[in-house]
Amino acid sequence: MAHVIIINPRDNVAVTLRDLKKGEKLFLPDGRELSVLSDIPYSHKIALVEIPEGADVIKYGECIGETKAFVHQGDWIHTHNLDIEQKKEQV
């Protein structure tokens, strides 16, 4: 069983398939290694790459919101750092 699932190749977040612990190492399906930076509950989102402040968070290949602050690879992404005001429409 995988530990995370990436829904669309364009995504910069993955969905966790179990509770992840701060400090553990993860191997992604493509072989990349990633350090988990905070405890992340089962079924939440983890950043696959560094995402600058104000940049799009992509899931399903579509923008689901913008980061409120710089997000490190391995960070938990949820209401605390994802701005969901959706100023930009992706048409």
Binding site: M1, A2, L17, I64
Partner: protein, 385 residues
């Protein structure tokens, strides 16, 4: 052409169940409906909480109750009225009888109370059930099928496993000439531009745009700055941050074929293919609208585990995770969580299609086995008076 075995109705519609329904005009008649259905367990009560004390919703509620009575899975209907309510038994009976199916009605106040009304109702329903039993299944093409799509108690996996697998089944049915109905406007918020791209013409695209914009405005009017977070706390705990994120995972249930029509709540579609229904996100009210639209079968995906079915429509439950499927196996028909263990999406899609075929031909869903009929919840927007 692939076929299923269904029940021919007098107006040409085709049902997959052969229910005799007992429909109260108003909540005050529920007790008599209950007395009739206790005496005859095969009868299906359509309990609801409305029928009076409403202004602008009366037309929508009347249409919904009439269309539930007209539903192809219903062979005959007894309408139980009180007498002084706004939605009248006789008016419902006349409208439902346009389908030429057997319809009878009475008012409790005219018959002299509960016991006399229950006795009359029991006589009528016994006869209706005997008559309905003479209807046999015959083969019909799949293009006669309307499949309702629902998701409830979603988690982050509903949109990753269950909903995309259901999307494969939707594409299969539409390719066979059938119809799927996607609703829950609030769960389309943020994805209007994607749905508009799929509309079969500009008029349908405009209707989609207006419907989703209205849903968004309504959530803003009701919730103010909290509107972007209009997803239940359970969904939020499950890892969904925004409604657009949830919406993307919701609309995938309807597969990828063109959108042919936008209908009102509880309205019967005039087109085949992918139809959007203007309706609320609350599962129970949403299921009522989709059932009234005439869907003979519903697929309901769930992540947290919702066991609810429907009085007249078989509801097929698709679990988003192995964990929940095993935990609530008595209520779940399909385990889409197998995708998380490495099963291809298409395998789960094929399992859903096979289960749909068997349910169309009479195999009960888990919700039917568990008698998870629940009650008819009618959509309301305004306070009662």
């Amino acid at each position: 052409m692939e076929t299923f075995l269904g029940y021919q109705r007098q107006n040409g519609a085709v049902g997959i169940r052969n229910h005799v329904a007992v429909l109260p005009t108003v909540a005050c008649a529920n007790g008599v409906v209950a007395a009739i259905c206790r005496a005859i367990p095969e009868a299906v009560p359509l309990y609801h909480g409305h029928g009076c004390g409403r202004g602008v919703e009366i037309a929508m509620h009347t249409r919904t109750l009439v269309n539930l009575g007209r539903h192809p899975n219903v062979a005959a209907v007894l309408i139980v009225g009180l007498g002084c309510e706004v939605i009248k038994a006789e008016a419902l009976a006349v409208a439902i009888a346009e389908t030429k199916k057997p319809v009878e009605y009475f008012n409790i106040q005219e018959l002299g109370g509960t016991r006399k009304s229950a006795a009359r109702g029991i006589d009528i329903v016994r006869r209706m059930i005997d008559d309905a039993a003479r209807c046999n299944r015959q083969p019909f093409p799949l293009e006669r099928i309307i499949m309702g799509l629902e998701c409830g108690g979603s988690d982050a996996f509903s949109g990753i496993t269950a909903n995309p697998s259901v999307g494969l089944a939707s594409d299969w049915l539409v390719d066979q000439g059938g119809t799927v109905i996607l609703t829950e406007d609030t769960e389309m918020i943020g994805t209007s531009h994607i749905l508009e791209r799929r509309a079969c013409n500009k008029e349908v695209a405009k209707k989609i745009s207006r419907m989703v914009a209205d849903a968004e405005k309504l959530t803003h009017d009701l919730l103010g700055p909290l509107a972007p977070y209009v997803i239940s706390p359970g969904n939020m705990d499950g890892g969904m941050t925004s409604i657009r994120e949830k919406s993307l995972g919701c609309i995938v249930k309807a597969g990828s074929r063109p959108i042919t029509e936008v209908i009102d709540y509880g309205e019967i579609p005039s087109k085949k293919g992918v139809v959007l229904m203007d309706g609320p996100g609350y599962d129970m009210e949403s299921m009522t609208g989709v059932a009234a639209a005439g869907c003979q079968i519903m697929i309901f995906t769930t992540g947290r585990g919702n066991p609810i079915g429907h009085p007249i429509v078989p509801v097929l439950k698709v679990a988003s995770t192995n964990k929940m499927y095993q935990h609530m196996e008595d209520d779940m028909d399909i385990n889409a969580g197998a995708i998380l263990e490495g099963s291809p999406m298409q395998d789960v899609g094929d399992q859903i299609i096979e289960k749909v075929r068997r349910v169309l031909n009479g195999e009960p869903t888990k919700a039917e086995i568990n008698q998870q009929e629940g009650i008819v919840c009618l959509y309301t927007l305004h306070p009662a008076f």
